[in-house]
């Protein structure tokens, strides 16, 4: 099972509704996020510019660095669904996993002293039709959820339809093998492996261009 998000960046308009839906669903404190939607760009010089948004959350890596470094086994992969999760009972808030994750998508909740991140709304996994809150609310139909190992899943079909040239993954310097796939065609913007925008307009910044 390779449950993850596939996001169509040709559609995403950076409205941040998925961020709010995530925060309401998961009861996330002010200042904490499981996902952010930074703008990559605009790149180029006015008026010859392009831009896309990069909704960003746990990439559901095949070789997760977080699990590898977690000293207590709190970070683990759910066998049935393949989702990378954190066992609240076992987490000691040591933040070691933050060093294992190259994508800064894990945060220590200072109130509970437990590390949190996107679980693909695992609390909904028992639902007849498991759909994460971000996917459910998305205002452009950009975010898809499903099992990339199943060729008949929505995500697999979307990836196939987009074609390999338009499918991208976050740079993987650490060999963690991220699962999430981003669809972006050059008609919208050129994909950037290591976008400067992520630093300047990045996930730690409070505002995103819209």
């Amino acid at each position: 099972m390779k449950n993850c998000l596939v996001t169509d960046l040709d559609r995403c308009s950076g409205c941040d509704s998925c961020v709010a839906a995530c925060k309401f669903e998961n009861d996330i404190d002010l200042g904490m996020y499981y996902r952010r939607v930074p703008a990559v760009g605009p790149t180029g010089t006015f008026p010859n510019i392009e831009m896309y948004w990069l909704p960003f959350q746990c990439q559901q890596c095949a070789n997760p660095g977080c699990i590898e470094v977690c000293p207590t086994g709190a970070s683990y992969r759910d066998e049935a669904t393949g989702v990378v999760l954190i066992d609240e009972e076992k987490c000691i808030g040591c933040e070691t996993c933050l060093t294992g994750c190259p994508y800064q998508v894990r945060t220590l909740n200072p109130t509970t002293n437990i590390v949190e991140k996107c679980t693909l709304c695992f609390q909904r996994s028992g639902d007849e039709n498991w759909v994460p809150a971000c996917v459910r609310t998305c205002c452009t139909g950009a975010i898809l959820f499903g099992d990339l190992d199943d060729p008949e899943s929505t995500v697999s079909k979307a990836v196939a339809a987009a074609g390999a040239a338009n499918c991208h993954q976050i740079a993987d310097a650490n060999g963690v093998l991220p699962s999430s796939i981003y669809i972006l065609s050059e008609k919208t913007a050129k994909w950037q492996d290591d976008p400067e925008g992520l630093v300047r307009y990045g996930v730690t910044r409070q505002t995103t261009q819209v």
Binding site: D16, S17, A20, F24, L30, T45, R136, C139, Q206, T207
Partner: protein, 941 residues
């Protein structure tokens, strides 16, 4: 039901003095409680699921609310909604916080300190109604009915009709809304004058055809002009545009700011703010020069071939040039003059189906007849556009010639075999002196291209009644002519003069015709800006002037029906300065804003959208229910306070009001509101509606009734094609009715005319913004504004999740300009115009021209949080409307002032006191346990 002995409105007798606004949300014991509404329990998670619709913006997307123990804990879009398709944006999601915000006002409040001190006393509804009514009665008795005025607008309340009709009941002509002339009225009204049809607004539910779902969608190219649907109506037309783009529809976006829709466009034209008319004229020039227009459609369905009298500027009637002309068409059918290519002669041009026409009219012609030189309307337009070459336009409008050309070629299918396109416009032009000129020009483009009443085109008529059986007419006074038929005012376009006279000279049917007509004539600012009659609104700067000077009369008692007027009105300080001149100010809103703090003497508590039953916007052929999902405190639906106050005023005046009857249109009780909602959705009663919502919601109009095409060709009762509901039955690209409007007030001021003013231009003409950046060395940047997806109008600045993501005002500056200013990304800067100064954080982006800056409006409710040691009302710090220009020149037809496209200077500054920017700072805006524990309460009225 929990029964109680207490009467509905008298249970709070004890006055409670409260020091700070943050405490007003707290309820008092004694509210009439009610058990939660009956609804289905979703078995999987134990949540109660209620079908409703979001009112986080004007678009009203269908939604599902999930409740736990009577508290709404989750909101989702309704997957059955045809356009939003289950999407729900951050504005809608915010309601979970704003519904239970500690900022909520749950009881009537009376000012308990000086204006500005933010001290309030909770009073009973009985006392509040008495207070309001007695101040209105006192003013009417002492100063006359014109001392009363109302206003609305700002987001989060919906009292459009009530605000418009309340002064009518009181016998006053004065009402305004910061939107109106600055938002949508110019585009809406102009479309009625232009062709009696739907306008091109991509918001406001106007453009629907392109969002038609399924294989039926024939859209090929959409021009988004001065609109950002992905931001303004994110889940609805934003979703619609995303679906269109995904389906391969090409788009052109005209916007000074690199909006999400611009980022996805095939061609982006970052026009210099306020110069859109020049760009529009360049499209005319290119299309005419390259013969890209639809010749057949332009000849026979527009008035472009009509000869125009150089003296009157009006099209010449056949009977004027040919006294012996005997028309072959039925009586009252108009006949004009053209230059006939078949006979090479000036000839009568009778109204007929194109294939039945006796003449082949020339569109572009100049020549003499009987010693006078005439031009066709087409020729006049061609000459108007003549200077606007691609190169000149590029230079003047800060664009690139090849991109303008690429956009026009996409729009006209110059390089492919497509057949349709359509322009969808937005609020940008309404906020400039060009407010009437831009829609006039843009509708004209779609008309000469023949992109009318055709699948895939924005200017296509829809809805019940779109398919004509009788000769179509346009009513102009009030929506669907409601005021025309109530009071006997206004001419009906499409009827002959004789028919209009017969209709209006009916003293028995219209006993108040004289008073109604007088209220039109006396309305402030009407002489010069007669287009405002379309929504019966006054000219805002003239109202302000009247308050300040007492000339020609002094408005003294103000009933405002929504929002933060200080964040919404242009040149906010000029309004703050006249507040002392207003004797009494009544407000109503779900929370206190800067306006209430600075001006209000009395505040009525309103329901949030989760509490208020309503049917508003449709999605295509479906109508949805905004449900009464919950209800706390003593809040009421938006229309109720003014109806209750009016009843009390009538009682005090001996049973009769000084104004029009029926005058105020609104519901007095929640039961009436609910009955009206049920009737709209064709349910037998409110109770049956909510007991079986799925049976009645959505209300679907059959597709074959709702959608229709080529309506102008349908032969109607007089044996001729329906044409369009204008004087000429053609699309009046040369908008001849505007000349009559300027000269007499026709068709609004009728039967008694209004004093003349300067002629309005019947075609699009270029207007250089009054504060032009060209040559302005003191204020070198041109500022324009727009929305961000986190807020709608002045709403949600107290929504913590929106605020942590977009904490405070930002100004987008090109990095090259910022470098010259010594400003870095996220530095605070001071932005100064000739009106005032505000602060914002600099957002450096290549997405704006180096000479353009872009800002969203803002106000800061945290400035009067209880935690502040030196509280302010939060409207001076970051509010773009401190900078905007509400002085002449105004748009000639609608009196619109300049919210966009004026000049500013920028300097580095520091964060103003009281402004919050860190996520944790917004914690005082989070719902409190106390608010969530508020009991469900019964209807107050």
């Amino acid at each position: 039901m929990v029964h109680t002995e207490v009467t509905r409105r008298s249970f709070i007798q004890a006055s409670v003095l409260l020091g700070a606004a943050t405490a007003v949300g707290a309820s008092l014991s004694g509210c009439m409680k009610e058990e939660a509404a009956v609804a289905t329990v979703d078995s999987s998670d134990g949540l109660v699921k209620i079908k409703t619709a979001c009112h986080g913006c004007i678009q009203v997307c269908p939604a599902i609310a999930y409740l736990k123990d009577g508290v709404v804990v989750r909101l989702e879009g309704d997957l059955d909604a045809p356009v939003s398709r289950g999407s729900l944006c951050i504005k809608g999601l915010n309601q979970i916080h704003t519904m239970y915000s500690p900022r909520r006002v749950l009881h009537p409040l009376k000012r308990a300190g000086e204006r500005g001190e933010n001290k309030w006393e909770v009073i009973s509804w009985d006392d509040a109604i008495e207070e309001a009514a007695s101040h209105i009665v006192d003013a009417i008795e002492k100063y006359g009915p014109y001392s009363f005025f109302s206003s609305v607008g700002g987001g989060g309340a919906y009292s459009f009709i009530e605000a418009m009709t309340l002064p009518m009941a009181m016998g006053s002509p004065t009402v305004f809304e910061p939107g109106c002339a600055q938002c949508y009225l110019p585009r809406w009204s102009m479309s009625k004058l232009f062709y009696g049809g739907n306008d091109q607004s991509i918001a406001d539910n106007a453009v629907q055809e392109i969002f038609r779902v399924g294989d039926d969608n024939k859209a090929e190219v959409v021009i988004v002009w001065g609109a950002q649907p992905s931001v303004s109506e994110t889940a609805e037309s934003g979703r619609g545009m995303a679906e269109l783009r995904a389906a391969g529809v090409k788009t052109v976006v005209v916007d000074p700011n690199f909006s999400p829709d611009a980022a996805k466009a095939d061609v982006w034209l970052p026009v210099r703010p306020g110069t859109d008319t020049g760009l529009i004229l360049s499209w005319y020039r290119y299309i005419i020069e390259n013969k890209l227009y639809n010749e057949q459609f332009t000849k026979y369905w527009t008035n472009m071939p009509f000869l125009i009298d150089p003296d009157t500027k009006l099209p010449v009637l056949a009977s004027e040039l040919f006294p012996a002309f005997k028309q072959t068409t039925p009586e009252n059918t108009p006949a004009y003059i053209c230059y006939d290519i078949k006979t090479n002669a000036v000839a009568p041009f009778e109204y007929s189906a194109p294939e039945d026409s006796a003449v082949d009219p020339e569109i572009f012609w100049t020549g003499d007849f009987n010693g006078k030189t005439y031009k066709t309307a087409g020729q006049i337009y061609k000459e108007q556009a003549e200077p606007w070459t691609l190169e000149y336009t590029a230079e003047n409008c800060w664009l690139e010639a090849d991109k303008i050309e690429a956009a026009i070629r996409l729009y006209t299918h110059a390089d492919d075999d497509g057949t349709v396109a359509g322009i969808a416009n937005g609020v940008a032009s309404d906020m400039t002196e060009s407010a009437s000129q831009v829609p006039l020009g843009l509708m004209g483009l779609d008309s000469i291209m023949g992109y009318i009443n055709t699948p895939g085109c924005t200017m296509t008529q829809y809805g019940p009644g779109n398919q004509p059986t009788k000769r179509p007419v346009t009513y102009h006074n009030g929506f669907g002519g409601m005021f025309s038929d109530m009071y006997g005012i206004g001419a009906v376009i499409g009827m002959s003069d004789a028919e209009n006279e017969a209709r209006i000279n009916n003293a028995e049917a219209f006993p108040q015709q004289k008073l109604a007509n007088q209220l039109l004539v006396d309305r402030l600012g009407m002489k010069d800006h007669k287009g405002l009659y379309a929504w019966c609104h006054s000219h805002i700067p003239t109202v302000r002037e009247a308050i300040a000077t007492g000339e020609p009369f002094k408005p003294r008692v103000w009933f405002d029906m929504s929002g933060n007027k200080l964040a919404m009105l242009g040149n906010a300080k000029s309004w703050y300065d006249v507040f002392p001149e207003v004797d009494y100010v009544i407000g109503q809103y779900p929370m206190l804003t800067s306006f209430h703090v600075e001006a209000a003497d009395l505040v009525f508590p309103l329901r949030e959208w989760l509490e208020e039953p309503m049917v508003n916007m449709c999605q295509l052929n479906t109508q949805w229910l905004q449900n009464e999902t919950v209800h706390i405190g003593e809040t009421v639906s938006h229309g109720i306070p003014c109806v209750q106050v009016t009843k009390k005023v009538a009682e005090k005046l001996g049973g009769t009001l000084p104004g029009l009857v029926p005058g105020l249109l609104g519901s007095a009780t929640e039961a009436e509101v609910k009955a009206s909602v049920a009737a709209t959705l064709q349910a037998p009663s409110w109770e049956e509606l909510i007991a079986d919502t799925d049976k009645y919601v959505p209300l679907v109009t059959p597709e074959d009734v709702y959608f229709g095409y080529h309506q102008q060709e349908t032969v109607v009762d007089d044996g001729l094609p329906a044409g369009f509901a204008t004087e000429s039955r053609k699309i009046e690209v040369y908008c001849q009715i505007l000349l009559k409007l300027a000269r007499t007030g026709y068709p609004f001021c009728y039967p008694t005319p209004q004093e003349a003013c300067e002629d309005y231009s019947p075609i699009c003409e270029y207007i250089e913004p009054a504060e032009s950046p060209v040559g302005d060395t003191e204020y070198p940047f041109v500022l324009t504004s727009g929305r961000v997806p986190y807020f709608h109008h002045g709403t949600m600045r107290h929504a913590p999740f929106s605020r942590e993501l977009f904490p405070t005002a930002e100004i987008r500056i090109n990095p090259a300009s910022a470098q010259e200013l010594g400003v870095s990304h996220m530095d605070w800067v001071k932005v100064t115009s000739r009106r005032g100064e505000v602060h914002a954080r600099a957002y450096l982006t290549e997405g704006v021209n180096p000479h353009t800056v872009w800002m969203e409006r803002f106000w800061n409710p945290e400035c009067f949080d209880a935690s502040q040691t030196n509280p302010t009302a939060g409207w001076r710090e970051c509010n773009v409307n401190v900078l905007t220009k509400n002085s002449a020149p105004f748009n000639e037809v609608y009196g619109s002032y300049t919210n966009r496209g004026f000049t500013v200077k920028i300097e580095k500054s520091t964060k103003p006191a009281n402004i919050w920017v860190e996520p944790e700072e917004f914690a005082p805006f989070l719902p409190t346990e106390e608010m969530k524990a508020e009991a469900q309460t019964k209807d107050v009225f």
